[in-house]
Symmetry: C2
Subunit: 354 residues, 2 copies
């Protein structure tokens, strides 16, 4: 298989963990006789520095032509005071919109050796394995008007969805559930929002197309509670953009190892983007100690979702599991009697397993 | 002191816990020589049954004339299938708007004997004592347009705030912090929402008026994480309506005893409304086993916030603490070697202490 991958290392620890993902992909391509070619482009703060924009046109072009995009992380204190159109996260929002990345998949799953670091009691977190399917290009994030009014004395943001936008993400939720334990939880605020009422109607309509999936509706406030009191009740959660932002970050800390969580952002027919759930961690950037595993697992997600290379994706995931099982960990994690390693060493361990 | 209190028992366990609160208030009035007169009115499902509306005009009138309002809980499966303007929670939203209850105060604090039931590890939840100040009459909840468009093929909700609405709740946040540990966390999504940018500006402007308070801005997704990983870092959190809805419910399960949490909803100069943070619990309604303590603590909140009866409020809070400390608990809680009691017995214990 011949594939062109655009790498967007971004800021902070982004470039370091990207190097790791590339090393792992190289090992995979050798092993399975694929040809992966790479092209690197700037996004976020580094793009502001080099091109005066967090999402330069050449980055957009390259991504649109690619077979898949890997993204490290964006942002850092250096760019925090810039006006909002130059902020690194504008790059992230921009590329989502440009590539129409409507579906953000965020799995949350613990590793036996790491679960001790969970803020939750063992009996609560044990057995949790959930996937949040977040709508990523609609809602409050992109609705207009979004502006000051009355000489700056009032302000408005707009939450809009088309029926089509809701249908495609709800379909993604059902399909994701079919590939897992077949339980879908749709999260909305249908007792208050008109958009949530339409959302709930669409879910009810779609039920018939997925008779093997059990569906439940939960209000967003109740979902925020249940994620903590009983996370293992969830299989797939599907929800709109802002609720998904909040709930997926909430869910990401439940296992105690945020540095292990990948994510996938998918389009209907176009290129997908894959990035770790963690941020750019400017405090440890350049030290060579960042945990590359979320980025490496994101590249496995790319192989699975964009290239249908299930076996290759599984091999990467098994490699990561094996390395953790053997007690190796980076500085962000702790394993009793384990071996603390740096970014390069961790990468080599995964590559060697492959 | 002579005060007129409107009681809105509502649905489910609402009437049972309201009876307890009234018993406790009677004990207080006897002890301190106050005259509290009560008037009961319907709200929620019971109001739909009796008057065809979840918020009948006579209920609104009575509340507007009262010195304070106590509310039990609304909602239940009986009314779940009604069209949305007849749903019990419309009563709740309606009374907030009618009384201009812009500030919702939700404290989260554990009791030593009950903390074992927290889903969080002891070392994480220990020492947590926070207050969420939620804006309650603006934002997505009440913005217009909120409607279907394009023949039902799209939908819009509107998030609006006036500068005045933001200022008054931010002031409430600062003032609440001054009465506590003087640390204010303002939660917004200023990297995406224009309304959050204005919110952040207002907080920055107000800083000068409260030089004794330390202020920090946290994005709502990060706040959802930090509430779990390190809840004790928070003193007062101030945020807009929808974020406050999600975060205050998330926070309410951290201590493991939701049945102990009161809330206050306050107007600028008008009457305040006080209700437990828990819901109507239709599954145990009528069994006489509901935990009345959140309702009783809500009545203490009323004495403090509406009548400035600090000593009386403190006495109720000490009574509740003492009763729990002695090992008494209702069926929703557990205390090792404790004494399980029903609603009436628990109420008597509190009254006897007073
Ligand atoms: C950086 C920010 C705009 C972004 C979002 O809110 O979508 C981030 O929080 C995320 O979840 O990827
Ligand atoms: C019932 C519902 C409309 C309400 C809200 O969202 O405000 C409730 O969740 C609350 O927090 O009091």
């Amino acid at each position: 298989m011949q594939k062109n991958i655009v790498l967007l290392p971004g800021d902070g620890i982004g470039p370091e963990v990207m190097k790791s993902a590339k090393a792992v992909l190289d090992a995979i391509s050798k092993q399975f006789n694929h040809t992966f070619s790479y092209e690197s482009h700037d996004i976020g703060g580094i793009a502001v520095d080099n091109h005066g924009s967090p999402l330069p046109p050449q980055t957009i072009d390259a991504c649109k032509k690619a077979d898949a995009v890997l993204l490290g992380a964006v942002g850092g204190p250096k760019w925090d005071q810039l006006p909002s159109h130059l902020r690194p996260e504008r790059g992230l929002l921009g590329i989502r919109k440009e590539l129409d990345l409507f579906a953000n998949l965020r799995p949350v799953k613990g590793y036996a050796k790491l679960l001790h670091a969970s803020p939750l009691k063992e009996e609560i977190i044990n057995g949790s394995d959930l996937l949040i399917v977040r709508e990523l290009t609609g809602g409050l994030y992109f609705g207009t008007p979004s502006e000051r009014r009355d000489n700056g004395n009032s302000v408005v943001d707009t939450l809009t969805y088309t029926r089509h936008e809701i249908e495609r993400i709800v379909d993604k939720g059902f399909k994701s559930a079919q590939l897992r334990r077949k339980v879908l939880t749709s999260v909305d605020k249908a007792n208050v929002l008109e958009s949530s009422k339409l959302w709930r109607e669409v879910v009810e309509e779609k039920k018939a197309d997925y008779p093997d999936v059990t569906v439940d509706h939960v209000l967003v406030d109740a979902a925020a509670m249940k994620l903590i009191t009983n996370p293992s009740q969830f299989d797939v959660i599907v929800t709109e953009n802002m609720f998904g932002d909040i709930l997926s970050d909430e869910a990401s800390v439940l296992t105690g190892s945020l540095g292990m969580l990948p994510s996938a952002s998918l389009a209907e027919n176009g290129v997908g983007l894959f990035e770790p759930a963690h941020g750019s961690a400017p405090d440890i950037a350049g030290l060579g100690i960042a945990n590359p595993l979320a980025m490496i697992l994101s590249s496995a997600f790319m192989l699975r979702h964009s290239f249908q290379l299930e076996e290759e994706a599984n091999l990467i995931e098994s490699a990561v599991e094996a390395v953790i099982d053997e007690g190796y960990h980076t500085a962000d994690l702790q394993i009793t009697n384990g071996n603390k390693v740096n970014t390069a060493e961790m990468t080599k361990l995964v590559v060697d397993y492959i």
